[in-house]
Structure formats: C-alpha cells, structure tokens
C-alpha cells in the first residue's frame, strides 16, 4: 500500500483541522487550565466531536460505529496534537474501542461499543503500578471467589482514570495476567485525581476487595498479556500520531518566527546556525511522518499488530517531538519562556506523551528485544 493518505482520509484531516482550529485551538486548553476544570476536558466539545462521528471511528457498524480504521483515528489524533485539545479520543475511542473489539465477549460488545460510539461510555486502561511504565509487572491480584473474582491492589497515573465509567484492569492470576472490566462505581473502587503538568488529569485508583462477576473478564482467564500488549500498542500508536502533530505544529510556529523576528537588522532565520538546526529538525519530522503512516496502516492490515514497528515509532516520535519542542523554546528566546505565549504548552504536553505507555528508552529497549538483541 502506498505510504500516503487517500483522498477520503485527507478530507477527514481537513475537516478535523478546520473544526479544531475553530472550536478548540490552544486557547481552549488555556481556558480549561485557568478555570480549573475538574474534568480536564470540555463535555460540550466532546459532544460536538461525537456529532462529527469521532468516537465511532473504530467501532464496527453493527454497534453503531463507522468502522473506519486506525488510520482514520490516527489522523484525528495528529490534529488534536496540533491544537493540544484534551478529549477522551485516545483512551476511549482508540484504546477502549480496540480492547472491546479485539477481546470483548458478545455481551460486552453489545453493552459497551454503542456507548463508545455515542460518546457516552468512557474507558481507561488501569495497568501501571510503578512510576515508570512496566506493564508486565503486576501485583494487583484477582482471586477466584464463588460468583466471580475479588480484586485487590492499586494502579497509578491512570490516564482518564478520573472520568472513566469503566476501567480495564490488569491483574495477576497465579503466574499469569488477566484483564477485567470494572465499572467505576463498583464498591471498593477509590479514585484519586492527579493534576499533570500540562493540566491534563490522571488518577490513582485503589481496588479494595472489589468483587466482579465472571462476565467481567476481558478475554480468557490467564490470557490477558497478549491483549494488554495489543491495547498498549494501539495506545502507543495513537500517542505517536499526537506527538507527530505536536512536532509539526511547533516546527511550523518556529519557522514562522524565524522569518518574522529581526535582530541585527535581519530576520534571525537568515543565520546559518539556526538554518541548519531547522533543516535537521525538518528532516527528522519527515522521517516521523513516514513512520506514523506506516504503523497506522499496519494496524489496519495486521490483526496481531507489529510490536517492533510500534516501539520503533514511539521511540523515534518521542525523541523527535522533544527535540522539536525544546528547539522551539530556544529559538523563540525569552518570549518562549513566558506563560502568556503558547509554545510552552507544547513542551509540557510533549513531556507527558513521551512518558505515556513507555518512554523513548523503554521503547528503544523493546525494539532491540523484538529484533533479538
């Protein structure tokens, strides 16, 4: 398949870009922060996104979805990266939908997928227990009891954990891992909100003698590891698309500034010291574009995903977006350090996404392991 977006996909991108520039530019995020929003996103905006069909992109048609594939949702996330628009797109529309479509029982599909497509049912993946991402190290336990399972343990920094209606929880069952769907209102579940440096919210969640039925098992008992890795890889892909949007937008803003800002009587973009750094950054971003298209197309084509490619992509995108945001601050000079100017928001969001679901080091290591060294 050609490494290009087709015409329909380009139309989706243009309409997403128009909508976000009009309704949720960076000033929208600033407003959420200044108003101390307890959700960390706007429910009004989410219902407009729902009208655009975005949460339905991955959901199969029989459950009220658009069945438009990973490439489609990746394109939208790239655009929300450009505007830094907070929404449940990543955790619910992408990872949540992927988890239920991939591993859900008929009943789980029927009860959850229509709600995802309608923007009414929000999900969050509760997997990490340590400060650095280590999804295979699971201490949270699920013990069999008469009617089902009893879950004990705690999860840390769960993205969208503060708004989720249902958690996908990784648990230890013997020496294996099993996944459970746990409604947020279940007795014994405590959610404590954390505020991130970019005003996004996450949550620490504790499970104290939380009882769920057998029907809450996602996939098979002891078969959670492969599903978890798949859902995480979907999430990492979405994060990579968002990072690409961030890298491109900060780069565009920076090259505009290099042409406008004058010192010594000339635009600072005429200085070779800055030109070469801008040109190198441009080159790295071009590399990243190819990776993101490739990894999205691969998710659409291959049912089992491609861990090596996902980790390669997440690692490269994290490195490049960090370079882009750091160079943006440096090249903007003093104004880049001010809160009044927007460029700092990109630096902050980028740092969150670099860390989310494994940072560049985690994924470089995983890439090498996948390659056999």
């Amino acid at each position: 398949m050609a490494l290009l977006y087709n015409e329909e996909q380009l139309m989706l991108r243009d309409s997403a870009r128009d909508f976000l520039n009009g309704r949720a530019p960076v000033s929208h995020l600033r407003q959420l922060r200044d108003n101390g929003s307890s959700d960390g996103f706007s429910r009004d905006l989410w219902s407009e996104m729902t009208d655009m069909g975005w949460p339905a992109i991955l959901v199969p048609e029989q459950y009220g979805g658009l069945e438009y594939g990973y490439t489609g949702i990746g394109i939208v996330l790239e655009e929300t990266g450009r505007t830094l628009t907070p929404s449940p797109m990543l955790c619910t529309a992408m990872m949540g939908a992927a988890a239920i479509v991939k591993a859900g029982s008929d009943m789980q599909r029927e009860t959850i997928l229509p709600g995802i497509a309608a923007g009414e049912h929000l999900l969050a993946l509760a997997c990490d227990e340590t400060s650095r991402h280590a999804p295979h190290e699971v201490a949270t336990s699920a013990d069999e009891i008469g009617t089902g399972y009893r879950i004990n343990g705690s999860k840390t920094a769960v993205m969208d954990g503060h708004i989720a209606d249902t958690f996908i929880v990784s648990t230890r069952t013997g020496k294996d891992i099993s996944l459970f769907l746990v409604p947020a209102e279940t007795a014994g579940v405590t959610v404590k909100t954390r505020k991130n440096l970019d005003t996004h919210l996450t949550a620490n969640i504790t499970f104290e003698r939380v009882e769920v039925g057998r029907e809450n098992l996602l996939g098979t008992l002891n078969g959670g590891l492969a599903i978890l890795d798949y859902v995480l890889d979907v999430g990492r892909t979405g994060v990579s698309a968002e990072l690409l949007g961030i890298a491109q937008e900060t780069f565009d803003r920076t090259t505009r500034y290099l042409k406008e800002r004058k010192q010594f009587g000339v635009p600072i973009g005429s200085f070779q010291a800055l030109q070469h750094r801008a040109a190198q950054l441009y080159t790295e971003i071009e590399m990243c574009k190819s990776l993101v298209i490739k990894v999205l197309q691969t998710l659409d084509e291959r049912n089992d995903g491609d861990a090596e490619l996902v980790s390669l992509t997440k690692s490269k995108l994290g490195q490049t977006a960090q370079l882009a945001t750091a160079e943006a601050i440096q090249m903007h000079g003093g104004i880049g350090m001010t809160d009044e100017f927007d460029i700092g928001f990109f630096l902050k969001r980028c740092r969150i996404l670099e860390s989310l679901f494994g940072d560049s080091y985690f994924h470089l290591d995983r890439f090498a392991r996948q390659r056999g060294y």
Binding site: A2, L3, L4, T255, L258, K259, V266, P267, G269, S270, F271, Q272, L274, Q275, H276, A278, A279, Q280, Y282, T283, E286, M287, C288, K289, S290, L291, I293, K294, L312, S315, K316, L364, D365, F367, A368, R369, R371, G372, Y373
Partner: protein, 393 residues
C-alpha cells in the same frame, strides 16, 4: 488477476529463468560491481550474461522509453521490478553514472540527436561516463568554476582542470561543466558539454585517498576540441541542468546508505561478535547505539518509499533529494563507526587474510567522503533551509 499481479508474475518468471545463481548474492566488495564500458573486464560469464539479458529486456533502465534502450515501464511497474529483484537478492546488472546522473537530464533537456546518440549505449553498458563538476577552486561553491571553453564557431576549445572525477581513469566519455560566457554572472555563463575521454589533450591523474585507494582522479584539459552539437540544452544555460543532474546524484548517494538489500543487519554482526546474555547484547551502550541506528535506518527506508509514492502521485521530489543525501550519508558514516566498534582490534588491521586486506577500515575511511562528495552535508542543509523551509538569506 490484476494487471499489476500479472506483471509481477511475468517479471518473477523471467528473472527466475534468466538471473544466474552467482548474481543472486550481495557484492562482497565494490570489485564485484559491473560498470561496463570499453575497457571493462567482466569477472565472469554470468556477470556478462546478466548484463546482456537485462539490457536486452530494457531493464537496466526500466523507465526509459523503449527507443532509447529502456522498457517504458511506469513507476508502479518499476517498483514491482525493484521488489522482485530485491526478493532474489539480484545484483544490479550495471552500475552507471550514465544511468543515474546523465540520463535524466539528457532525457529532459537533450536534443533528439543527442538522446539517440548517447542513451542506447548507456542502457547497454557500452559507454562508461564520468562526471566533470568540481574544480580545485570550485567545491561547495560549484558555480564559480573556471574551466574555459572558447567559441571557435562550430566547436569549443576547452582548457582547465577538474578534480574529484570518480573513476576518471576508467571512463569513456565525460559530461562536464565549462564556462562559455566570461562576462556573465557566475550562474549564467555555464554550459554542460560532453566529450570522448580519448580526445587529444585529455589526461587524468589518480588521487590517493586516506583509504589508500584511488577512486577519484584529477582531469586535465589542454586545448581539447569539443563539438558544439555536444552541448546539453542551450549554451550558457547549463547551471539549471547541472542542478537537475545533482538532485539525481544526491538521490543515488543518499539511497546508497540504505538500499543494501541482502547485506547482513548490523545487529546480527554485533550478536556474532559479542554474544548475548538472556537475549541481550553483551554491551549495553553499544546496543543502544545500534538500536538508534536501526531506528533511523528504517526511518530513511520508509521515507524513501513514501517519497517514491508521492512522485508516483505526481508530487515532484526536488529539494527533498538534499534531505535524503544528508540523512543517508550521515547514516552510512554511523554504520561504519558501529562496524569498527563491533569488530574491535580486528577492524584495525590494514593487511592480511583475516581482515580481507583491511577491507573494513578502508571502507570506513571511504565513508568519510560520503558527506562531502555530491555537495557537503552543510550544503544540503542550506538547500533544505532555503528551498523547503523558505528561510531568508
């Protein structure tokens, strides 16, 4: 079966029947390449047959029109052919600056007579071309070149010298930038001319490099007669053509960092040399650098693929060739730094059997020139900054 599928099947069948076994393995070193030309000695019958068969099919230049020795393939078919050749690890039947550098501008700017005269022998590998661009005082600032061509009516008399002529002592013909208007601005008095290297007054001298090898020569022209009908495009408008040719050269050099179908991946060489513990390479720092290298190598391969898809969809590559030249050559230098580290003391031997007479260190030294020849990395970054980003100055 779609048209594409049937083309693929036909190509696969033909290659199966016609590509000799010995031509289905990567080069051991550059000595295995087939360059063609009047003086070339084939290393084997297989090598000669492979060239003849591919040339007969028009597949040494698959996208060129049939009348010039090509096969008239569209870019989608050419991609399939490339994939099928890669699949069986086929060696290129012909390495040729005539194909990679001179052909495209000749097709675009050359007169019908010139195309008829020069393209078919290039396609058949009968004439080996060399490039006369750089001069001792015109490197990065190529347009300041001084080789002078004086107008004698129906011909020019050319005097001056060129430097960094790749394989200048092995070439049959040269395409050469000369100054034909001495009063005009530096970009406006240049012409691209072609002449036979056996013409009276042409001589070459090898330049010995830090690698101990001499892939380049200096080339001296003393009162050399060049016919006016051997000017590509119009007189004094050679700079546009020269730049067009350079984008193709850069594509070729940039691609060489990555298009190594069949060569052993760097990590495998490291695993063989260093071993692993619990599946992890026995040197954590080297492992991280190899992984970063492999990430970037894959990035470049995918981006070249994407650029080709864009060209197919009608977007021109243009200054993007500078990006590939920059990235590909820097990557190739990294590859050889890693290979040197992986091989330890053995990589330091200059002579002797174990190290194939210093093959690795000599290659490593040679790569240092990759980011200089064909326009330095710094020049490529200038081009990206100005033409792709529109930065001023």
């Amino acid at each position: 079966m779609t048209e594409t599928d049937s083309f693929r099947q036909a190509a696969r069948d033909w290659l199966e029947a016609n590509c000799p076994g010995s031509m289905r393995q990567p080069y051991r070193d550059e000595g295995d390449a087939c360059w063609g030309g009047r003086n070339f000695k084939f290393q084997s019958e297989d090598q000669e047959n492979w060239l003849k068969k591919m040339a007969g099919k028009g597949w040494t230049v698959p996208t060129w029109p049939v009348k010039y020795g090509g096969a008239g393939l569209d870019s989608a078919q050419a991609k399939i052919l490339r994939e099928e050749l890669n699949r069986i690890k086929a060696r290129p039947p012909l390495e040729s600056f005539g194909i990679s550098m001179l052909g495209p501008p000749l097709l675009k700017f050359g007169s019908e007579e010139l195309r008829q005269q020069h393209l078919p022998p290039i396609a058949r590998g009968e004439i080996r071309w060399v490039q006369g661009y750089s001069e001792p005082n015109a490197g990065s600032d190529l347009a300041s070149l001084q080789m002078r061509a004086d107008d004698m009516g129906d011909h020019f008399i050319v005097n001056g010298s060129k430097i960094w002529t790749s394989y200048g002592d092995k070439g049959d013909w040269m395409f050469c930038l000369v100054r034909t208007d001495f009063a005009a601005k530096k970009h406006e008095g240049i012409s691209l001319v072609m002449f036979d290297m056996t013409t009276e007054g042409v001589s070459t001298r090898p330049i010995k490099l830090i690698s101990g090898k001499s892939p380049f020569t200096e080339t001296f022209l003393e009162n050399v007669r060049v016919e006016k009908n051997q000017v590509v495009g119009k007189i004094n408008e050679g700079w546009t053509i020269a730049k067009y040719l350079l984008t193709h050269e850069r594509e070729m050099i940039g691609g060489s960092g990555i298009l190594r179908s069949g060569s052993t991946p760097v990590y495998k060489l490291a695993v063989d040399a260093l071993g692993t513990g619990n599946g992890i390479l026995n040197d954590a720092m080297l492992r991280a650098d190899i992984a970063r290298f492999e990430v970037d190598e894959r990035c470049l391969a995918l981006t070249i693929e994407r650029a080709r898809d864009e060209v197919k969809a009608g977007v021109s590559l243009g200054a993007a060739a500078s990006m590939f030249k920059y990235y590909g050559t820097e990557l190739n230098k990294r590859r050889y730094e890693l290979l040197m580290s992986i091989n330890g003391q053995q990589a330091l031997d200059w002579e002797g059997g174990d190290n194939r007479d210093g093959h690795l260190p000599k290659s490593w030294l040679r790569t240092k020139g990759n980011s200089i020849e064909g326009g330095t990395s710094e020049i490529q970054l200038n081009i990206v900054a100005k033409r792709l980003l529109g930065l001023p100055g």
